[in-house]
C-alpha cells in the first residue's frame, strides 16, 4: 500500500460567476521514504493539490468536491477536524514557500517549535526546549541554543526556511509536503536548503512531495515526477525518463524553454506559444491543444485520458495526449523523435 494515495481529487474555488475547478481528477501516489515531484507553471493546480491533501481548503472560499486522499489507508477528506489535526504534524507536515508569512512574527522561534512539540507530542516545556535545540542543530543552524530566543524577522530567508524545516520534522512525520520552498531564496541558499532536505529525508526515511515549477530542482531531488497542466496531471514518469524521453508536447515545451548551463551555448529557446487557459474557460478537448505545435482535429474534439504510453515490468510512463497513443490507435507523435528540444543544443 502506498503511503499516500490521491484518487481522482477534485477541488473547486468560488469565483465571480459560479466556481472554477482548480484540481480536476488528480490521482497519484507517494510511497514511504520516496521523493515525488509535482511540477507545473503558476495556476496549474499544484499548490491547490497540496492544500487539499492537508485539508487547508476551507469553505466558502473553496472545497474538495470529489475524490479521496488516502493516507495510510485513511481518507483524509472525510476526517473530522479533530482527527485531521492528529494526522497533521505526526503523519504529514507541510513547508511553505514564504517562511516570513508562515512563521508567527510575534513569537520567538523557540516558542513556535516548542508549541508544536507540546501540542502534538505532549512534551513538557523543558523536554520540548531540549528537543527544539536538537532540531535546530539538525537543520544546521549555528548557535542553536541562542537562536531559540530570536524572532523570525531577525533571521535571514535561508535561516527562516531552516526553521520551517525543523518545525516540519519536529514530530517525525512520515510525509512532508514542500511547496515551492526555495522559490524565494537565492541560488546559493537554495543549494544549501535542497542539500539539507535531501540528507534529512534520507536519514529520517521521510517521504517528500515536492511541489515546484523548477525542472532543475526536480532533476536533482525527485525519484518520480508528475507534470501538471491546467488542473490535471498530463505526464507521469520516473525522473530520468521524464527528462530523457519526455512524451507530452507540454513537457517538451517546458524543457525547451529553459537554457541549460551544461550545454553548449547557442540556438534559440523554444518557448510554448500563448499561455495556459483560464480556469473558467477550459478548452473542451485537450487542455494543451490551443498551444500545441502538434495539434490535430482529434485534440480539439475530445479530452484525452492519462494512459500508459510505454511500460516494462518495473517502470513505465503515462501521458495525456492523443498524439502519443500507439500508432495503431492513430497516435501521430509516437514514432517521432522524442527529444526535439535537445536537437540543437547537445553538448
Amino acid at each position: 500500500m502506498a503511503l499516500l494515495e490521491v484518487r481522482d481529487l477534485r477541488t473547486e474555488f468560488r469565483a465571480a460567476r459560479g466556481s472554477v475547478t482548480a484540481v480536476d481528477g488528480v490521482s497519484f501516489t507517494v510511497d514511504a521514504g520516496e521523493t515525488v515531484a509535482l511540477v507545473g507553471e503558476s495556476g496549474c493546480g499544484k499548490s491547490a493539490t497540496a492544500q487539499s491533501i492537508m485539508g487547508l481548503i476551507v469553505p466558502p472560499a473553496g472545497q474538495v468536491t470529489g475524490g479521496q486522499v488516502l493516507f495510510e489507508g485513511r481518507d483524509l477528506v472525510r476526517l473530522r477536524p479533530r482527527e485531521l489535526r492528529a494526522v497533521r504534524g505526526k503523519g504529514i507536515s507541510m513547508i511553505f514557500q514564504d517562511p516570513m508569512t508562515s512563521l508567527n512574527p510575534v513569537l520567538t522561534v523557540g516558542r513556535q517549535l516548542t508549541e508544536t512539540l507540546e501540542l502534538h507530542l505532549g512534551l513538557s516545556r523543558r523536554a520540548a526546549r531540549t528537543r527544539a535545540v536538537e532540531l535546530l542543530e539538525m537543520v544546521r543552524i549555528p548557535a542553536a541554543e541562542t537562536r531559540l530566543s530570536s524572532y523570525p524577522h531577525q533571521l535571514s530567508g535561508g535561516m527562516r526556511q531552516r526553521v520551517m524545516i525543523a518545525m516540519a520534522l519536529s514530530c517525525q512525520p512520515r510525509l512532508i509536503l514542500a511547496d515551492e520552498i526555495t522559490t524565494a531564496l537565492d541560488v546559493t541558499i537554495q543549494a544549501q536548503i535542497l542539500e539539507l532536505l535531501r540528507e534529512l529525508a534520507r536519514e529520517t526515511r521521510t517521504a517528500l512531495l515536492l511541489i515546484t515549477h523548477d525542472l532543475g530542482v526536480v532533476a536533482g531531488m525527485a525519484e518520480r515526477v508528475n507534470v501538471m497542466y491546467a488542473g490535471q496531471i498530463v505526464e507521469r514518469a520516473e525522473t530520468v525518463d521524464l527528462f530523457h524521453r519526455p512524451q507530452m508536447p507540454y513537457t517538451w515545451g517546458l524543457l525547451g524553454s529553459v537554457p541549460r548551463l551544461d550545454l553548449v551555448r547557442g540556438g534559440k529557446l523554444r518557448p510554448i506559444a500563448g499561455r495556459p487557459p483560464e480556469l473558467s474557460e477550459m478548452p473542451p478537448g485537450c487542455r494543451f491543444a490551443p498551444r500545441c505545435a502538434h495539434v490535430r482535429d482529434t485534440c480539439q474534439g475530445s479530452a484525452p485520458d492519462l494512459v500508459t504510453t510505454w511500460e516494462t515490468p518495473d517502470r513505465g510512463q503515462l501521458t495525456r495526449c492523443w498524439g502519443m497513443r500507439p500508432e495503431s490507435e492513430g497516435g501521430w507523435l509516437s514514432t517521432e523523435d522524442r527529444h526535439p528540444y535537445l536537437s540543437t543544443e547537445e553538448s
Binding site: 541560488v187 532543475g216 553548449v264
Partner: protein, 348 residues
Amino acid sequence: MTESPVTASEQALLRVRDLAVDFKVPVRGKLRPARLRAVSGVDLDVRRGEIIGVVGESGCGKSTTGRAILQLLKPTSGTVTFDGTELTTLGRGPMRAMRRRMQMIFQDPYASLNPRMSIGELIEEPLLVHADLSAAGRRAKAMETMQLVGLSAQWHERYPHEFSGGQRQRVGIARALVSNPDFIVADEPVSALDVSVQAQIVNLLEQLQEELGLTMMFIAHDLAVVRHLCDRIAVMYLGTVVEVGECEDMYRRPQHPYTKALLSAVPIPDPLVETERQRVILTGDVPSPLSPPSGCRFRTRCWKAQEICAVQEPVLTSAAGGGHQVACHFPEEPGPMDQPLAAVAGDR
C-alpha cells in the same frame, strides 16, 4: 587593468568609474541613521551593441547599480560617462533630454504600468516628453513599436488588466523602446514570469537586440538565462564587482570562488547530470551590508580564505590578460577552454 584606456573609451558607450551608492537606514535606539553602502567602487564599461549581464544574489547591489547609472538614484560618488557626457554632474534639463537615449525595463509588469492608462497611452507616454511629434505621429510610432514587440496594434485601446504577465512585459519593453534609445537597463525583466513565457520574452529581447543593435544591461539572478542572452557578464557580491569577462570565458573558466559557487548552485534540468555533479555548497549567508567584512567581502564564505583576505581588499585585475578581470587574492588558474561544461560547474 591591462586593457588600454584608449580602446576601452572607443568601444564603450557607457563608462562607470568608482561608483558608490549609500542609503541611510534608521537604527533602533539611535537618532542618526546608519550609512549602508549598497554599491561600492564599481568600475564597468558597456560596449556599444553588447548585452552585458549583471548577476548576483539579492542585496548584491545589481539593481542599485542599474538605477544609479540611469541617475534614477543619485550616486554618492564616482562617475558615469554616457557617450562622452558625464551624467553625475548634468543638470536636470540636459539629463531629461538624455533620458530619451537611456531607458529602463522593470521587473514587475503589474506594478510598473498605470492601470488607468490604455496600452496605447502607456506606450505613447515617453514620446510626450521626448519627441516633438503630433498626436497622429505619436500614435503611428506607438503602433509600430507594438508590432515590433509582438503586440497586435489593435490592442492599443485595451487596459493592462486585460493582459497576461508576458504581454504586460511586452508593453514595458515597448515603452522602453518607443523613444529609440541607445541604451537600456533591463532589471530582472523575466524573473516574474513562468518558464514558457519567460522564454518568449528572452527570445524577443534577443531578436530586438539583433534588429536594433541595442546596447543593454541585463540585470538578473538566473545564470542560465544570462548566459543565453549576454555577451559579457559582471558578477557582483555585496556591492562590488568580483569578476567580469566574456560570457563563455566566465562560464567555462570562472576564476573567482564566488562565481564558481554560484554556477555550481544552479540546478541543471537533467537528473543524470545532477546526480553526478559535485557541488560547491557555500556555508552561511551573505553578511549584512551594514557591516561588510574587512578586506575581501566574500572571505567569510570562501573556502580559500587566508589571512591576507581579511586585511587587504582585492582589486579587480586581469591575471591572464584580455578582458577577464577578477578581484581575488587566490583566483582559480584559468584552465583549458575545451573542458566539458558540467565538470567546470561542478568540480572544485
